[in-house]
Symmetry: C2
Subunit: 605 residues, 2 copies
């Protein structure tokens, strides 16, 4: 049976042909593996997604987590799916053997996550949080902390959260008020009593597993009892639900949030320290909290992008299946009402809605897998220079990997509903839930606006230019390869790449010119005011590049269905002809740097 | 208290200053009215919206209609609101005195509908359907039919539906299978027995009022028992739930549809004639059904656009209020973490999300009110030529009035969620429901794809060019007025309109050039394949024109708040600078007429 939530042929093409997992397996870090083991892991995750994750996806939406006598009650199918995930040995699969893992590349475990998320994004969130939480502790914790909190998560016995936001502070972490008072030190490190309220905590309370490890941002109170201003005073604490002595920590569930979608992931408001203060152990140095947490946040951002891309893929393949099955109407130009109806897919407008989904969904997923490959190279490339290059590019692309799928995924899902017509608006079909689930992605782990300031303010204007130059080099190399290929192909009257390469080249010039104009602006407020449309334009440039690079890989691929290859080439052309050119009017406005937004008077809205 | 679901200052500006309701009141048909009575009606509808419609909007979403012992149970608040609407004398307000109405212009009752829809779109749907149903019967029915079915609806005692779609046919009405067999004739006209299944029937079954009048499309069986092919064989029937003798007609409720939103409007699957056949009386001639139904469909399409615009306005004003109240973060460039947080509205990205909503929502509502004015002029302009001109322009604009708000409304609502951050994703705030409710609008009463074929295929390429020429004349006149105003203003260094007029002129040229290219294409399939992006580009041209025209009215307005006027001018500029230029890359692709979509092989998706 074909996997019904994602085109696994395309996943295999991207991992094997385009991103060349054989080359990854040749790196010393991944020498235990080969293409065969990679493909087995993906096949295992498809089976798990199909058997254990997908069946309760709708049920989880209809039966959201509820409070019963102060306890959070989840659908039992969620824990059963997580148990199966653990039993399949997938929790620690990309951790080292020291940490109970198999040392798989992140690129491969991203393929795993794509399958699971496409099947059930809300259940996968528990897996995702535990893995990212453990990875932070493994990287920044002491051996005692790793043994106490990371290893049980990697064994699938504990779950984890990240506790950043507070009701009054939202995206503004400088304004958090959770306070930590020193309370001695023990084998687990410097100990504190925490008091404060944390909002939007996914997986914050439930009865699955033996414990929940909360990673909490808080400020260590100064001698006068006040909290240091800004983000520099923030430290990070491991605050377990169950203390090492087996008693409950002073953490109260203050409420559940009732969401538009993504309902199977319980989302909580937690009060730390309503009584004697919640016990927490500092991870890393005092005042280092935000810097350390950024590791988990960056992983979460890439994970959000991957989830959004997987949901976009789900809507695409489900609406594609519907368009193939449902007969309706007659082709344009056919007037004879006695002729039989054709399938939806034979209507040009339905084809348009399918190919837009295809270029957005597959482009987004490709972007995320490319990012995962950078994570692998940053960690495992033999040369220090190559590791640094990968890290630089990954840093630049992280806000794009988070945002392009998050913003374009719901747009794709909207078209999946539209193809289903009235049925798509009912809860009898999946696409409406996919659309609702995906709508969280532009909000959590840093809103689109936050990502945009990160990209333009920190990663581009705040950088010495080397990160952007690295990307420019990659794009130019792809353009050059496409043109060389086109020159060869022209002799055979089969040039498919000259026009797409030209469109990409123009987009690159447009973005670079815009950046130069922004750099020259004396007032950073004018340069940064349009950071969000800049991020979207930049994201389209990046995904255009990805599509051209994939088209080159498709032309070089052997053993793939010719129609499939043709679909890749046409999708590349569609993206370049329709989606990419729309960035130019926006880039012109961004570069103009006028003050329209600021000049709107209070009563003018 | 300010009306919290719509900017009523703006509504008043549009009706009074821009669309000049005083001029309407001078037409003989509206001579009973003046600006004072118009304003009273709007104020009455605001009060009704606030007191009776808004309070159960969320409740209606949470408690969707359900079946209990075969009966549809609705929230009692719905009927109470409808009763209040009737008691306020608003049901027939724009019908003639002969039909129990007050003869108000449609433009004024559109203002009423905007307020009610913004407050509760699902409850307003019952009002809307009854009014449109009654109007069809008043126009095409016999006096006996009017007395039997239209008047009780206009008195608020009966409700009405439109029954077009069938489970197998969706948008393709040529394929309906509901059959009508002649069953004699009586005082109500030619009588038939109907058998068939109708899908997506809003308000199809409930216990409110004394009766439900279903207007049903069906085919009269031919002598050999077969149904005539195509749409020409379709006739229209009034099929009451309760027959004139007081017994139940043979109409069975086959099920309720469970929707993503718009839940307060019960949506049903009805089986006509499971027993002896449902009794129906033909309205109009045999085979005239679709032509007659188009009156109700066109009214419904304008109504859908108005509803979508009103929901866009609701999201805008609610997110504006939130952005003003919620302190968060510090302005760009302010590094001092001890400085107090500012309101969300002080962040440029939030201002961007507000002004995008403003230009889309207010632009959409303005378009609908302009369309309502055309309805009034088509009916009541003293000169036959003026009536014909208005009708021609209305016909051209109807798919735009239906679609621009329906497609752009949800986009605006998406930004309303985003401004609320995580809170916007919870069911504690209204914006997520608004977004879900609005998502129906691109689907019902003809999907966006259907509207696009209507615009490009019938109203433009299938027309002799006079409708488009009429619009072109209107746009050029506005551009000329703006340029004349700009010339005057330039002397005072206060030219606000030269650049917007230029942008609009370029958009007009772009659209006209594209149409010329499409007309020249030998293969209509290539011309029509991109009808949907053409509709969106065309819609942006039309709304750009509306914004420039409104800006001229704002400059001429007296007695309005100067900040409010400034907001109008800046919104006009924003639309012309950011939204409108994006149509040009799309127009270039539409005009290229290549065969990419058709050439994607089956296995290429």
């Amino acid at each position: 049976m074909t996997f019904p939530y994602l085109d696994t042929q395309d996943l295999d093409f991207m991992l094997a042909d385009w991103l060349d997992w054989r080359a990854l397996a040749e790196l010393p870090a991944f020498a235990d593996h080969d293409e065969g083991t990679f493909r087995e892991v993906i096949a295992l995750s498809e089976a798990l997604a199909l058997d254990r994750f997908a069946p309760h996806n709708r049920l989880s939406d209809q039966n959201e987590p509820r409070l019963e006598n102060g306890r959070v009650v989840l659908l039992p199918e969620i824990e059963q799916a997580l148990d199966a995930f653990r039993e399949a040995g997938l929790v620690a699969s990309d951790f080292s053997a020291d940490h109970g893992g198999a040392g798989l590349p992140t690129m491969v475990t991203s393929g795993v996550a794509a399958c699971l998320t496409a099947a059930n994004v809300a259940t996968n969130a528990y897996v995702f949080l535990a893995r990212a939480n453990a990875r932070l502790i493994v990287t920044h914790g002491t051996q005692a902390q790793i043994d106490q909190w990371a290893m049980p998560q990697l064994h699938g016995r504990h779950y984890g959260t990240m506790c950043l936001s507070e009701p009054q502070a939202g995206s503004s972490l400088a304004d958090i008020r959770t306070r930590a008072l020193p309370d001695g030190e023990d084998a687990l490190g410097p100990r504190y009593r925490l008091r404060g309220n944390k909002m939007w905590i996914s997986g914050g309370e439930h009865d699955m597993g033996d414990n929940i490890v909360h990673l909490v941002l808080a400020k260590i109170a100064q001698d006068d009892g006040s909290l240091p201003p800004g983000t520099k005073g923030i430290s990070l604490f491991a605050v377990p639900r169950i203390l090492p002595d087996g008693t409950r920590n002073d953490i109260a569930l203050a409420g559940l949030n009732h969401k538009l979608g993504y309902r199977g992931t319980v989302n909580t408001l937690l009060n730390f320290g309503e009584g004697e203060g919640a016990l927490g152990w500092r991870i890393g140095g005092a005042g280092q909290g935000l810097a350390i947490m950024f590791q988990m946040m960056n992983e979460a951002r890439v994970g959000v992008g991957l989830g959004a891309a997987a949901l976009a893929c789900r809507g695409y393949v489900q609406s594609l299946a519907y368009a193939r099955e449902r007969p309706q109407g007659r082709p344009l130009g056919v007037k004879d009402p006695t002729s039989p109806p054709v399938a939806l897919i034979d209507h040009p407008d339905v084809r348009r809605m399918l190919i837009v989904q295809k270029v957005l969904a597959e482009g987004a997923l490709a972007l995320c897998l490319y990012g995962a490959r950078l994570i692998d190279l940053e960690a495992a490339a033999p040369e220090a220079g190559a590791r640094a290059d990968a890290g630089r590019l990954l840093g630049l692309l992280t806000p794009v990997i988070k945002t392009f799928p998050s913003e374009m995924g719901p747009r794709a899902n909207d078209l999946a509903i539209q193809i289903h017509g009235g049925y798509g608006y009912t809860r009898d079909y999946d696409v409406e839930q996919v659309w609702r689930d995906n709508r969280l992605n532009p909000i959590h782990e840093g809103t689109t606006g936050i990502q945009a300031l990160d990209l333009l303010g920190r990663k581009i204007l705040g950088d010495d230019g080397s990160a952007l130059a690295a990307l420019e080099g990659e794009i130019r190399a792809t353009v050059a390869r496409a043109r060389a290929h086109a020159t060869d192909a022209r002799a055979r009257e089969n040039d498919r790449l000259t026009a797409p390469a030209q469109a990409l080249d123009e987009a690159l010039t447009g973005v670079l010119d815009c950046v130069a104009r922004l750099r020259a602006m004396p007032d950073p407020r004018l340069a940064l005011q349009h950071a969000t449309p800049f991020l979207m334009a930049f994201g389209h440039l990046v995904v255009g590049w990805i599509w051209l690079d994939k088209a080159l890989a498709a032309l070089a691929a052997t053993g793939r269905n010719p129609d499939y290859i043709e679909g890749k080439l046409l999708a590349c052309r569609y993206f370049m002809e329709w989606e990419l050119p729309r960035i130019h009017p926006d880039l012109a406005r961004i570069a103009a740097g006028d003050d329209l937004l600021a000049s709107i008077p209070e009563g003018g809205f």
